[in-house]
Symmetry: C4
Subunit: 233 residues, 4 copies
């Protein structure tokens, strides 16, 4: 993949966040990685989406060293890089402050799987991290945020649960491509919204039965999947 192509994919996925109503002003950021060259393209910090072009994107290596670009990268760059290092299959990371997913993060409550919409995408609840300690916040804050996410996934499979809520902050989502990271950011928001309404209707609502959760997840994922069209070889 040429870098120009990565830039186009990352630009397009950033704009998808806007089209889905997931970002306000300059909130949020999305990156993509070229695994072969170990280079990451990310939104620059504080640039409005409506002015964003592929040329604005910042290219860095996995340590955050600037490789291409005149602008500062997103201030959350080190969080993205920590995820790329720890989760070998992901190709894109999306961070938004979308309203309902952020509300669950602020409530420090994992999003329970109340239905098949959730089960179609997440093999379990959407987890929430621990609060960062004062020392973590005073140190390399954005890197520590990434590490805290990785710690939360010590016993979780990031390919089956492609999102997390950072406590008191907001969601980070990922996927095999930049486009899938943006897609998952939209799904997390939708699932978060419906879970909010579900609890509002029935405070005793119970999570989906394990069998149904598994059924829906594997209807869409893995070798037995039968949702969608067969890809042409």
């Amino acid at each position: 993949m040429r870098l120009a192509e990565l830039r186009e994919q990352v630009l397009e996925a950033n704009l998808e966040l806007v089209r889905r109503g997931l970002v306000l002003y300059t909130f949020g950021n999305l990156s993509g990685i070229d695994r072969n060259r170990a280079l990451v393209a990310i939104k620059p910090s504080g640039v409005p989406y409506e002015k964003l072009t592929a040329a604005h994107l910042v290219i860095t290596d996995l340590e955050g060293t600037l490789v291409e670009g005149d602008l500062r990268p997103s201030s959350d760059l080190l969080t993205h890089l920590a995820l790329y290092k720890q989760f070998p299959n992901i190709g894109g990371v999306a961070h938004t402050h979308s309203e309902f997913a952020t509300a669950w993060a602020q409530a420090e409550t994992p999003i329970p799987c109340f239905g098949t919409t959730h089960a179609d995408y997440f093999h379990g609840p959407v987890p929430v991290t621990e609060q960062l300690t004062g020392a973590q916040i005073a140190g390399a804050y954005e890197l520590e945020t990434g590490k805290e996410i990785c710690r939360r996934f010590a016993e979780l499979d990031p390919d089956s649960v492609p999102a997390v809520l950072v406590a008191g902050h907001a969601p980070f989502c990922w996927g095999p491509t930049p486009a899938s990271a943006a897609h998952n950011a939209a799904i997390v928001e939708y699932v978060a919204k419906m879970a909010h309404h579900t609890l509002s209707i029935n405070a005793e609502a119970r999570p989906l039965a394990r069998e149904l959760h598994e059924k829906h997840f594997f209807r869409k994922h893995g070798r037995s999947a039968y949702y969608g069209q067969v890809e042409k070889q």
Copy 2:
């Protein structure tokens, strides 16, 4: 009715789901039936609505055997077919994950009739199915979902209550035509949203008096109806 006409009706009704904000990405599916030929046209699985054309629709018989089309039908096809077999007057079936109706399904709570908007369309609460058992889920899941809906309607009239909430899943709606199935999907969402707000304002809100429920339902349905314009003969 020619199949081309059925395809057009089903395409148009699928697009109505998009226009009314009832579907996200490829969620949801809508079908229509030609009763004379016992053929069903349904949305293909996982195809984005913005790219959908009449030619993409899949034609099957009532057993789900492919009659026309290169794409896989919606994974929920067997649920639709079960409804067509059991409910002889319906001509279209719509399935969405619209946010408030899905929240009621996830809360496993029937939508009470709190007002005349509901009464205009549903002669009773919008019912919710039983949870499927592990055996049903492990078996022909989508067919079992259809059977469970039919079981829930053993003592209900599907022509007077043209929607159901599948527990932990989402609504299925229907009507005499594909267009009316889409229309009812929009109404269920609207009624679900207002019922949510009603409970939020007054947790002790009481269902509409039976007389008023009947009055509104029969103002719009049956031989004494006087809403709308007299159809020209």
Copy 3:
């Protein structure tokens, strides 16, 4: 005023209901009156707003006798007429099933005045009617609805409280012109929405102090009003 002008005003005000998101499909209806000729123009029953033209509007006298038009008038015509007869200063009536105002009607709860937005328009809470009795429902239902609204206003001033919630049904709003009736329908929805959120944040929220309620109402209404521009003579 020529009837053509009344038709234009009533058409435009009906379309304002659409622009403000207050109606779904054919829900709702709005009328206007020519007091000199005692003729009312009202939306026909069940006609979609997107196809509505001034020529579709139905003209009746105050008893509901058709004067002009080929279509059936709104099924709520007799409710409108009851209001025109009882409230001498009103020139337009709007009826919607807008989502939050309808939720309050379904909750059978008057909308308390929680803030100055409400106080700017309503000199008191937005009242809710009594439930109709079985006899009222079985009789001339729409006329009885109008009478029940008038009964609710026996000790209220309809010019200072230009809206009501019909219990288990939805709001009716009015004003000196068709445009103001539509405007008030939008305001009732906005006020209803904010009152819902207010209670959700603080279940013990208290109504606005009487002095502040009066201050805001009379800043906009009556001889001491100083909001807006002085009308040119």
Copy 4:
């Protein structure tokens, strides 16, 4: 700065309130100040935004004396002027009745800082004023509203907390420019909405830890800020 430029900035910032969905009809108003000349440009009272031009804006001095313009200034002018006098660094003031911020004002509850979105903008909760007394309301009401805001900020820094909720009324926001005042009005609404949802999910939600609040605020503000791009000199 020429007055023509101030007019353009104030017009544009007023229109930003519309684009962000913060105002309904003629609700709300936004002003800007030329500190050198001590002149304020403000929206006229009751003029619809869609018809608003730079020439409609009203120019007054800090006592409210009309300097330019044929229209009446916003009825809230004296509130704006009180803020300009007391808060020396602000260049714009925005007042809206945006739905969630107004709901918090109506609930007479400060908006707690539940997350980093809030912390990015406000160095503390968004405060709420005391209710005005009957005497204040009967007197120079709009001036008294401004004084009450200033009183609430006796021990707060308006540059670090650029918004307030007027009890039973709605938010006032400000910033170094008219554009930043409009921006902060959008942020307050967004933060208010997410705080509402947070409480709805978890009534026991706890405010953000002080360290994280500080970290995010100073990531964007002051000499150590590192969010966004370095301004070119």
